[in-house]
């Protein structure tokens, strides 16, 4: 009888332990569709903006003039991808279009010594993204809504950083920055 009690308690403890630590689910590659291929080869400098610039990339980059100003046409010319993400802030499943952040950064031609992207929003919120993460992971700079409209300010426009499914464990929701104004390569 004692043994039974002990066994029951042990079983309960085991069950509790199991309940507390859930095994991480295997990350599957994000489902991405190409809406529009890039106009120019990857890594080449984008054309000077003709419209109103919506994003400025500056800092340790080799782009002409020390800063890369991009209008909507310039962003689209880098190619448009579509992906659906889980917005941890608005708690919504969100289809978005945009460009891999790594593709954008490569076009600004960062220094070999650059390590960080310092991103600043219109309300002065700022985050640092490690360049190594940006290069290795599915981090998208969303520029348009799922149906192709300009991303409105209300949804975090003109541009925002979102992370592909499966990256939630690795990257804090604090890194989801929206209403982006500038990206400084440091």
């Amino acid at each position: 009888m004692d043994t039974a009690v002990v066994a029951a308690v042990v079983a309960a403890v085991l069950a509790l332990t199991a309940a507390c630590g859930s095994a991480p689910s295997a990350a599957s590659p994000p489902a991405v569709t190409v809406v529009r291929p890039p106009d120019t080869p990857a890594g080449s400098a984008p054309a000077a903006p003709t419209g109103e610039p919506v994003l400025t990339v500056s800092g340790r980059i080799a782009a002409a003039g020390g800063a890369l100003r991009l209008d909507r046409a310039g962003l689209d010319a880098m190619g448009v991808l579509q992906m659906t993400v889980d917005d941890p802030w608005a708690k919504r499943r969100l289809p978005l279009r945009g460009v891999w952040l790594r593709d954008l950064v490569e076009r600004a031609r960062p220094d070999a010594a650059a390590t960080t992207l310092h991103v600043t929003a219109l309300d002065d919120y700022q985050v640092d993204l490690a360049l190594a993460d940006v290069r290795a992971q599915g981090i998208l700079l969303a520029t348009r809504t799922g149906d192709g409209a300009d991303l409105p300010l209300e949804d975090g426009g003109p541009t925002r950083v979102v992370f592909a499914d499966g990256l939630a464990e690795r990257f804090s929701p604090d890194l989801w920055i929206w209403n982006i104004r500038t990206i400084e390569v440091r």
Partner: protein, 792 residues
């Protein structure tokens, strides 16, 4: 049963029971530790969630405030994209704030409602208009202020929640540690007991128990590490939070400050710790805060919200809204915990809003509400103040036409300049306010009648000096009504009496000052009643039209019949035309009367033109400034002519007034259009009052009518004033008509001046409509040459 010696089994069973007990206790301990770490995990999750909600709402609140500031700031010179930006970012933060709650939380519905309200406003129109439409701005301010209040309410509720969760988490942590300590002691005691028993039994038992204990100790260490980790997490939470946390003892001496305190005040923790919190409170507030601390320190467990105005290192003052909790009984705190939030910007915004509620945004002067409040304060203040208080009500004459002809920006500029001049006339304790439109009021402090009159006349004088607005020089006048002392009246009474006096000043000629007399109140009510009666008379069609001929001096035949409105009240004395026309202009009834007269005159003229010899007879109708400024004059004239079947060439419109009319492009365009159709334009009452040379050159009129008063002017050497004006008219290529020809002498003077036509009692009184046909045929039958050629 007698005492049986213990069997071998029983002796053997004792250590087994002990071991089982030890194992059971160990398992229970582990279970508890796991449970607690689970609980603490959930707790710190809740703390984090509460903090995230609070931070999101705080962000949303800030963004809505920024939107409000943008709404307040928006003017024709600023960038309207700012509105779009702040609205967008504010809505984004509201969405994010809602996302931090569960879908069925009431906060979500509230936030969604705020979001919907913000989205429904016509921001595009507001931004495109750049704040010119004050009404729209007012609506936007009300909407955003309302939204801000709602978000702020959610935020402060959430902050309280955050505080509660944090406190609960701390005490759970403490209880957990206490329970753990008890159990560990128990286990150690049991373990030691077990060892002692087992030592006597076998080495291997001891080894096993030791191993088990070692395992348990390792587990315990793990669990303690987990506890420490979650405690550390809480601490870092406090450290990271932008809100200030201060712990003081019951006397207000600081024992702990969070890093945010240095960020906000600039004081390093070392300079704050172990000193009284009061040292950093604004001197004027110290006594109040000291009292609040003393009161709070007496009531353990009580929570109060206290506003701290802290002096910063660089000499500024920040407003901190602090939730202060008495945790003197809490062994871990033993003091007062202040959770504060920097609300300096918010307070600044609130005072800005209150300033706006009490001031006129255009001139920066106090508005009617504030003036009434000040009057009320003074009137109800103890002492003899009430008898020495007065109000001067100032109304600009001719402001409306500046607004209508040069546009609202010019009108606004004029009001601002007038406000500045008004302020220049005040004495130290007087208050000037803008009541609305072109009405200002001055509250006079301690002035006798002579002083008040002197000041009022000065106001009239300075406001009569020319103003330069929008590149034009304009002159307006001012009429002032003064009321002195009250005899127990209210602030409203004072303003109303001053208004009545101002009204009398305006009526008896512009640019005057009148002091209120009780009689005026009776006259004023008489006037109001007359206006009401006039409005009814117009409704009932009691306005009659009479006609006075204008006779061509060359052909000696009537060329035009001028239509004149008359108000005959059944059973009562007739109201003189100039009185009731003035009444009608004040109340706006003139538009209806003018239209009525135009219709009747056109219909009548069509009939007269059928009379033999009168196929070219025309009709002249007066048009008031009101009708012109109301717009759509051309459409109305075309409609009336069409309905009456009268050609436009048979109609002459007579206009008076206002040099400024000529500057309005819209008015000029309407007149040009009428003239293109063939309608003739005449300037009425030329030489009196407002009609001026500027009008003749600004508007392309066909004829001018010399005012009757000029016929009586005798000039000495070189003929009459009429002659000079007639010459002027002819030089400009206009037909010249002399009005008010009542005597043969008048007629002579008109002929001498080479006037083209004459009008007046000497030729004919105004005729009832049905008498005109008789008059016309009678005129044609008699040769008037003699009458008109030679003075009698």
């Amino acid at each position: 049963m007698t005492a049986v010696p213990e069997s071998r089994w029983a002796r053997l069973a004792r250590p087994r029971v002990l071991i089982t007990a030890v194992v059971a206790v160990l398992v229970a301990t582990v279970t508890l530790i796991v449970l607690y770490s689970f609980l603490l995990d959930r707790m710190s999750e809740q703390v984090e969630q509460a903090q995230a909600r609070s931070a999101n709402l705080s962000n949303a609140d800030r963004e809505v405030q920024m939107l409000l500031q943008a709404v307040i700031r928006l003017d024709p010179g600023s960038d309207p994209a700012e509105i779009d930006l702040h609205r967008g970012v504010a809505i984004r933060q509201i969405v994010v704030s809602a996302g931090a709650f569960d879908a069925d939380d009431p906060q979500v519905r509230e936030l969604q409602d705020v979001q919907a309200q913000l989205q429904a406003f016509p921001w595009d129109r507001f931004a495109a208009d750049r704040g010119r439409d004050e009404g729209l701005r007012q609506a936007a301010m009300e909407l955003v202020t309302g939204c801000e209040k709602r978000v702020n309410l959610l935020r402060s509720a959430q902050e309280k929640q955050f505080y509660a969760v944090t406190t609960a988490s701390l005490s759970a942590n403490q209880r957990g540690q206490l329970a753990l300590a008890t159990l560990v002691t128990l286990v150690l005691g049991l373990g030691a007991g077990g060892i002692a028993v087992v030592l006597r039994r076998s080495r291997s038992d001891v080894a096993r128990a030791y191993d088990a204990l070692k395992g348990e100790v390792a587990e315990r260490r793990l669990a303690e590490d987990a506890l420490r980790a979650s405690e550390g997490r809480f601490r870092s939470l406090v450290q990271r939070a932008s809100d200030l946390t201060i712990v003081t003892d019951g006397q207000g001496v600081v024992t702990y400050v969070s890093p945010a305190v240095e960020k906000v005040t600039g004081h390093r923790p070392a300079d704050v710790l172990d000193r009284s919190l009061l040292a950093h409170v604004e001197p004027a507030e110290r006594a109040a805060v000291a009292t609040a601390i003393t009161l709070l320190a007496e009531q353990p467990g009580v929570v109060r919200t206290i506003e701290l105005r802290l002096c910063t290192l660089d000499g500024r003052v920040r407003s901190i809204e602090a939730v202060c909790r008495n945790l003197v009984d809490d062994p871990d705190v033993r003091g007062l915990v202040w959770n504060g939030r920097d609300v300096t910007e918010r307070r600044a915004l609130e005072s800005e809003l209150s300033h706006r509620a009490h001031h006129d945004p255009l001139t920066g002067l106090p508005n009617r509400a504030l003036l009434l409040a000040r009057l009320h304060e003074t009137l109800t203040a103890p002492g003899p103040g009430g008898d020495r208080i007065g109000v001067a009500l100032v109304d600009l004459d001719g402001f409306k036409s500046v607004n209508d002809t040069l546009g609202h920006p010019a009108g606004d500029e004029l009001l601002q300049a007038a406000a500045r001049r008004l302020l220049g006339c005040l004495r130290k304790n007087d208050i000037a306010a803008r009541l609305g439109g072109d009405e200002f009021a001055v509250m006079l402090h301690d002035q006798d009648r002579a002083q008040a009159l002197t000041m009022a006349r000065r106001i009239v004088d300075v406001l009569h000096e020319p103003f330069t607005v929008a590149g034009h020089q304009v002159t307006v006048g001012a009429s002032v009504g003064v009321v002195l002392g009250t005899g127990g009246g209210t602030a409203d009474d004072l303003l109303r009496d001053a208004d009545i006096a101002m009204y009398v000043a305006k009526k008896t000629g512009k640019g005057r000052v009148e002091v209120f007399e009780p009689d005026m109140r009776i006259q004023a009510s008489h006037r109001t009643r007359l206006q009401q009666e006039l409005a009814w008379a117009v409704e009932r069609g009691e306005i009659e039209v009479v006609y006075q001929p204008i006779v061509d001096l060359r052909t000696q035949r009537p060329e035009l019949m001028e239509a004149l409105a008359r108000w005959r009240r059944p059973g009562q004395p007739a109201v003189p035309p100039d009185v009731f026309i003035a009444l009608a202009e004040e109340s706006g009834t003139i538009n209806k009367i003018g239209h009525e007269v135009l219709q009747q005159a056109c219909r009548a003229a069509r009939e007269w033109r059928r009379l033999p010899g009168y196929a070219d007879l025309g009709v002249a109708v007066n048009v008031s400034v009101h009708q012109i400024l109301a717009g759509g004059l051309v459409d109305r004239v075309v409609a009336v002519l069409g309905e009456a079947g009268l050609p436009p060439t048979a109609l002459a419109l007579e206009i008076t007034e206002s040099a400024a009319l000529g500057d309005s492009e819209r008015v000029a365009a309407e007149f040009t259009l009428l003239q293109t159709m063939g309608v003739r334009l005449a300037v009425d009452d030329f030489g009196a009052g407002y009609s001026s040379l500027g009008m003749l050159t600004g508007l392309d009129v066909d004829s001018l009518k010399i005012d009757r008063s000029l016929l009586d002017f005798d000039t000495t050497r070189r003929g009459s004033l009429v002659m000079a004006i007639a010459e002027l008219g002819h030089t400009l290529g206009l037909r010249v008509v002399a009005e008010g020809v009542e005597t043969p002498g008048h007629l002579h003077r008109a002929r001498e001046a080479c006037c083209d036509a004459v009008q007046g009692y000497y030729l004919s009184r105004p005729l009832e409509g049905d008498a005109v046909a008789g008059f016309l045929t009678g005129w044609a039958a008699v040769d008037r040459r003699a009458d008109l050629a030679t003075p009698a």
